[in-house]
Structures are given as structure tokens and as C-alpha cells.
């Protein structure tokens, strides 16, 4: 993927998932990682919470409520996305329709992977997160606006909350450009680095079948 649609803000009702430490094995179980594609993972999102052992939707899981369809903001407990490095996690979230995840913290690899796909990981203070869950509980359909351009969240009670986001990733997402294009433009710098830093090993020097 070279370029994608520029993205600056999203307004949507919220999917609340008040659970801490949601790991990537829950977001998308490992047995679905045998795919060689990025697309088509929306049906497997939160698979083992979402479906009963007989394969039918679990009526108690939030994502299966009819009114959740089309919602683009996920509100989740602390340390969202911990565990494996699978980029299938943000791919699955986005394939389902999520564009922003709000939590009090994100695992490092998940945050990187999300930003590289234009999925916004929005970290807020723990007390703010509690307040957001309370707002959603009071009015489950109330829309949140996550505005990347302004770096603020506008809430159903009329208030706004600023958030921090990696400035470089923000620029890339707003412009709809990607980081590989940026890196490729640095080719002369990479070549100069390589000239002064000889390779430490060569994987080609011993035959794989030796």
C-alpha cells in the first residue's frame, strides 16, 4: 500500500469494551493468521468472545448488538493491544469499521502498527477514561468526535479533551502518505550509512543447506 485516503476526523457512537489488557490474541486469535492477505479479517475480530462454541454469535458480546454496526470508535480498558506483534489486529479492527481506539494506554507494537494503518490509538488519563465510560453508559448512542487535525476529542456533554499523538504519524495520516515513501527518499543517507557501517554478518556466506 503506497498511499491511502487522507484522514482527519471521525464522529461516531462508541463501542464500549471496559476490560483491561485486551491482548492481540483476543483481537484476532492466532489460528486466523494463516492468511496471506490483509483484507477480510473483519469477521474474525474478537472471534472467541464474539461467537459461541457452535459458531453462532454470542448475544452477550457487545459487538453483536445490532446498534453497534457501523460504529467507528472503540473505548477500551488500559493497556490495549498487548501481546503479539501481529498487524492483523489493526487490520481486523479497521476491516470491521473501527477508526479510533480510546484507552488509558496502548502496547508499543500495537500503537505503531495502528498508526501505520491510519487507525488512531488515543491515550487519555485513567480518570478521563473512566469519565468517558460513564458518558457512554449514560447515553449509549451519544456520538464522540475524534479530531486528529485539532488533536482533540469532542464529547457528547459539549466538552473537549486534548490528546497527544506522535507528530510524525499524525502528519502522515492527515496527508494520506506512508512512511515507506519517506524512508525511500532517504536513500542517499542509507547508502552513506552503509558505506561507513559494513555488514556485521552475511546470511549468504554459509549455505542454508550446508
Amino acid at each position: 500500500m503506497s498511499a491511502r485516503e487522507p484522514f482527519s476526523s471521525v464522529t461516531s457512537s462508541v463501542v464500549p469494551l471496559p476490560r483491561n489488557d485486551i491482548d492481540t490474541d483476543q483481537i484476532i486469535p492466532a489460528r486466523f493468521l494463516k492468511t496471506v492477505n490483509r483484507a477480510g479479517l473483519g469477521d474474525q475480530l474478537f472471534h472467541d468472545w464474539r461467537y459461541l462454541p457452535d459458531g453462532t454469535p454470542n448475544p452477550d458480546f457487545i459487538l453483536n448488538r445490532p446498534e453497534m454496526a457501523g460504529r467507528a470508535v472503540l473505548l477500551a480498558g488500559d493497556n490495549f493491544g498487548c501481546g503479539s506483534s501481529r498487524e492483523h489486529a489493526p487490520w481486523a479492527l479497521m476491516a470491521w469499521g473501527i477508526r479510533a481506539v480510546i484507552s488509558s494506554s496502548f502496547a508499543d507494537i500495537f500503537r505503531n502498527n495502528a498508526l501505520k494503518n491510519g487507525l488512531l490509538p488515543i491515550a487519555v488519563a485513567p480518570d478521563v477514561l473512566e469519565r468517558l465510560f460513564a458518558l457512554v453508559e449514560a447515553d449509549p448512542a451519544a456520538p464522540f468526535t475524534v479530531d486528529l487535525e485539532a488533536q482533540e476529542m469532542r464529547l457528547p456533554d459539549g466538552s473537549a479533551i486534548d490528546f497527544e499523538v506522535d507528530s510524525f504519524a499524525r502528519r502522515m495520516i492527515l496527508d494520506g502518505t506512508d512512511e515507506l515513501g519517506y524512508l525511500l527518499k532517504l536513500e542517499p543517507r542509507i547508502a552513506a550509512y552503509e558505506a561507513s557501517h559494513p555488514a556485521r554478518v552475511s546470511t549468504l556466506s554459509v549455505s542454508p543447506e550446508a
Binding site: 483491561n20 462454541p53 498487548c82 505503531n112 515507506l180 532517504l186 542509507i190 555488514a199 546470511t203
Partner: protein, 476 residues
């Protein structure tokens, strides 16, 4: 080296030294630094979409000679002479073979004597060396930090970046000193050190940081013990964890196929000796504990931070003040079907898994074999021993370890990730309990509905022979 101690007055940590030595371009105008990558490890699961990205842009792999691939995650650990029965897995493996052929990347595929878990074969081949930057589309890449390398997991988009440019956009991490002094008692191992750390700081405790493991207990556990510890850094939220190299490191590395030879070896060792953190260097955070106070550890919950000494009782959620923590523990105990206040010792188990990039190396298998020799796996238990690499398998068979496991009633299998990630059919049935030497006890990690107790190889063996979670110190 671009920077060395003589040109830098400020004391630096090993992480800062490695970072400074690999800066391709310093970030300006809000951009991250561009970091050069010495070694890129590739496997079948997180790479196909990255190679597709290269093809879409008409790009080549910039440095095939700094890239190496193997198959580990989705391959069967049964008879390798048969085709892979799972068609989707077979397609993923053949896609990697095609990609490696097209882009000129050496592949240690099925049938190669060097095939194995990516984090086992890198060190085994001597590709993993001190002071390097090492990446892989796998969160357990920190394993290579045991050699004093800055090694971390990346996503598939970043895999594409490294394939295309041999570099990555990265923000400088914070540093977290983990000092473990004192000495371990018999029956207590490197795995117990890392499980204890995780129980102290929690699963997100190291987010944004790189762990540097230091102290006499870390020095004493040997290279494979250090790999076990560094391996689970991500379970504390840290993308990387490392140990400064020392004579133990050099001895382990010397004479491995890709290690520097002759005069190159001496020059490399000179360079590596300058890597350890300078006296007076500052860490952003520190924690310190004494190895002599540790006992065998086990997890009781659904993340690796939910662990305790095996002699303890299941904690009571109602005793927790924080509502979120209370809910998390309650959900975990419900999934694990454990009751607050009950002892974990004596809990009946169904499966024992010895394997994974955490604990599948030859020293792990030697330890496990020493304990199981002359004993039998309990009739109610299925025990699987899955060596980390084809080379570990060969060595274990040569040393007679494989027959010890077989005679005890354990399955001796081919190398791969196997039941650590349960992608290949090696999995728990719903409701089953395992004692596993792997790294994650998340819900469903070892099979949908399966329940995992993480522990050391010794605890795994002790539990296999009794059929119940058992303290290995009773069997020493």
C-alpha cells in the same frame, strides 16, 4: 564505530550506545530517527503481505545478505516427510518459499538442518551478535537481547520497510534497569526470574522502555537462561530487553557458523567489550530484587503478569481496592475456573508442553530430561516435548535425551512453535489445563477454551509425572 567512549563524555547505557551507532538519520522536524538494521529475521506468518507490498511498488529487498527466513509458526511438528495437511498453512509456507526465491533471501525451510523457531536459530547459527540491531515480525524478538543486541518485534508494515530499506523509523526508547542479584536455589530457574519480574511490574509495566537485565543472578544463568529472560520482555510491555555481553556471551558465540573468525573475532570482541553500560549512566526506571528469595513461579491468570510462587493460594478479587484490577482478576479466575483461596499446588492438569522460543533449547531439554529420567508421565497427562530447532532436536537425540522423554511416555516432536501459539493443530481442547514452558497464557492462546499455567521446564516435568501442578523442588 561512529561514536565510541572516547568521544562521548556523558556516560551511556548499552541501549544508547547501540542506538547511537545505528543512526542513519537523526529525526528532524518531529520525525523519528532512522535506525539501520543489522539482521532481519523473517517467518511465514507476518511476511507475505510485506512481500506483496514490495511487488506493488516494484521494489527489491535491499540487503538479502542481512535477511534470513525460516518456517516455524504454522508448520506441523509431526512427520516432516508428509505434505502439510492444512491447506491454508501449506499455502502460507509455499508463499514464503516463493518470496524467498524471488527476492534472493536464504531460507531454512522444512527439511533444512537449520530450520527452527526463528529466535532459536539466530543464536544457534551465530547470526545474533552483540551490539547489533535485530528485528523480526514477532514480538519475542527480544530473545536476541541476551547477546547484548537491541532486538525488537515489528509489525508487517515495518517488515516491508526493513525489506525495502534495511532501516526503520524509530523513537528512542526509555531504559529500565532490572537488577537481580544473589543466587538461585536449586529447582529455581531463569524462567522463575522473569515470571517473578512480570508479577512485580505487571503486563504493561515496561511499556515504552527497554529492559536491561543486570546483576549476579543474570550473569549466572548462562546464555540460554538469559535468552529465556529476554524472551519474555514483551510480556512486561517492553519491546526489547537485553544483557550486556561478557565472556559467557563470547564463549557461547565463538565458532558458531556465522561468528567472526580469526583476527576478525579478536576485533569483534574488542568492540563488544565497549558495549556494557558506563558507570554513572542513568536509567529512566529501575527495579531490584534478590534471586535467593525466589521460589518456583507459576501463573494462575490469563496474562503473564498474573503469576506467583507455586506455594501460594489463588488471590481473592474482593481484596483488591482498584475496581479495574478486581474485574480483571475476576474474569481471569472465571476463565481459568479457579476459586479464590484454593492452593494452586495439586491442581489436576491434562497437558504438559515443553517447548517454544522461551524454553526449547538444549539446556532446557537437558534439565527436563534429568528430572524425568526414571520416572513416568502420569496416565492422565499428555506431555509434548518440542525442540526449538532441528539442530536442537539432533543434539538432543545424540545425547540420548529424546529416548529419555520417549521412555517416560512423552511425545518427542519436530521443531516449531507448536502449542505455544496453537496455529498448527497442536492445541488444547476446551476446558483442558496445561502446564506450559511457553510465554503466554492469554485466553485461548493454546487452543480455544484451553487454560494455561506458565512455568519453568522443571515445574512442567514435575507436574507431568504427578498429573498435578507440582513443586519441582520435591523431585530434585
Amino acid at each position: 564505530m561512529k561514536h565510541d567512549d572516547s568521544t562521548s563524555a556523558r556516560p551511556r547505557t548499552i541501549v544508547e550506545k547501540i542506538w547511537d551507532d545505528h543512526v542513519v538519520a537523526l529525526g528532524t522536524d518531529g520525525a523519528p530517527d532512522v535506525l539501520g538494521i543489522d539482521l532481519h529475521l523473517v517467518h511465514e506468518v507476518t511476511s507475505p503481505q510485506a512481500f506483496d507490498g514490495l511487488r506493488e511498488r516494484g521494489l527489491r529487498v535491499r540487503r538479502p545478505g542481512q535477511t534470513v527466513a525460516t518456517v516455524d509458526h504454522s508448520i506441523p511438528t509431526t512427520d516432516r516427510s508428509l505434505p502439510i495437511a492444512d491447506e491454508i498453512a501449506a499455502r502460507q509456507v509455499s508463499r514464503l518459499e516463493e518470496n524467498c526465491r524471488e527476492f534472493g533471501i536464504p531460507l531454512h525451510g522444512i527439511g533444512s538442518p537449520h530450520q527452527g523457531i526463528v529466535h532459536v536459530i539466530g543464536p544457534e547459527l551465530g547470526l545474533t551478535q552483540p551490539g547489533m540491531t535485530i528485528v523480526c515480525g514477532d514480538s519475542h524478538t527480544a530473545t536476541h537481547g541476551a547477546f547484548g543486541a537491541l532486538a525488537f518485534g515489528i509489525g508487517t508494515t515495518e517488515v516491508e520497510h526493513v525489506l525495502a530499506t534495511q532501516s526503520l523509523l524509530q523513537r528512542r526508547p526509555k531504559t529500565f534497569e532490572v537488577r537481580v542479584d544473589g543466587s538461585l536455589h536449586p529447582g529455581v530457574t531463569a524462567k522463575d526470574i522473569i515470571l517473578s519480574l512480570l508479577s512485580r511490574i505487571g503486563i504493561g509495566g515496561g511499556t515504552g522502555h527497554v529492559f536491561e537485565y543486570r546483576g549476579s543472578a543474570i550473569r549466572a544463568v548462562g546464555m540460554e537462561g538469559r535468552m529465556t529472560i529476554c524472551n519474555m520482555s514483551i510480556e512486561g510491555g517492553a519491546r526489547a530487553g537485553l544483557v550486556a555481553p561478557d565472556d559467557v556471551t563470547f564463549e557461547y558465540l565463538r565458532a558458531r557458523p556465522h561468528a567472526p573468525q580469526g583476527a576478525g573475532w579478536e576485533a569483534a570482541v574488542d568492540r563488544w567489550r565497549r558495549l556494557p553500560t558506563d558507570d554513572g549512566a542513568q536509567y529512566d526506571r529501575s527495579i531490584c530484587f534478590d534471586a535467593g528469595e525466589l521460589t518456583p513461579m507459576v501463573t494462575y491468570g490469563t496474562n503473564p503478569g498474573m503469576g506467583f510462587p507455586i506455594t501460594e493460594r489463588i488471590p481473592d478479587p474482593s481484596h483488591l481496592a482498584d475496581a479495574n484490577q478486581r474485574d480483571s482478576l475476576r474474569a481471569a479466575l472465571e476463565y481459568m475456573a479457579l476459586t479464590p483461596g484454593e492452593p494452586i499446588l495439586g491442581k489436576a492438569i491434562d497437558v504438559v508442553f515443553v517447548g517454544s522460543c522461551t524454553n526449547s533449547r538444549i539446556s532446557d531439554l537437558r534439565e527436563a530430561a534429568r528430572m524425568i529420567r526414571g520416572r513416568r508421565v502420569a496416565a492422565s497427562v499428555r506431555m509434548m516435548v518440542v525442540p526449538g530447532s532441528t539442530e536442537v532436536k539432533r543434539q538432543a537425540e545424540e545425547e540420548g535425551l529424546a529416548s529419555i522423554f520417549r521412555e517416560a511416555g512423552a511425545e518427542w516432536r519436530e521443531a516449531g512453535c507448536s502449542m505455544c501459539i496453537a496455529m498448527n493443530g497442536d492445541q488444547l481442547s476446551p476446558g483442558q489445563y496445561s502446564v506450559s514452558t511457553s510465554n503466554r497464557n492469554f485466553e485461548g492462546r493454546q487452543g480455544k477454551g484451553g487454560r494455561t499455567f506458565l512455568a519453568s521446564p522443571l515445574t512442567a516435568v514435575a507436574s507431568a509425572v504427578t498429573g498435578r501442578l507440582s513443586d519441582p523442588r520435591a523431585l530434585l
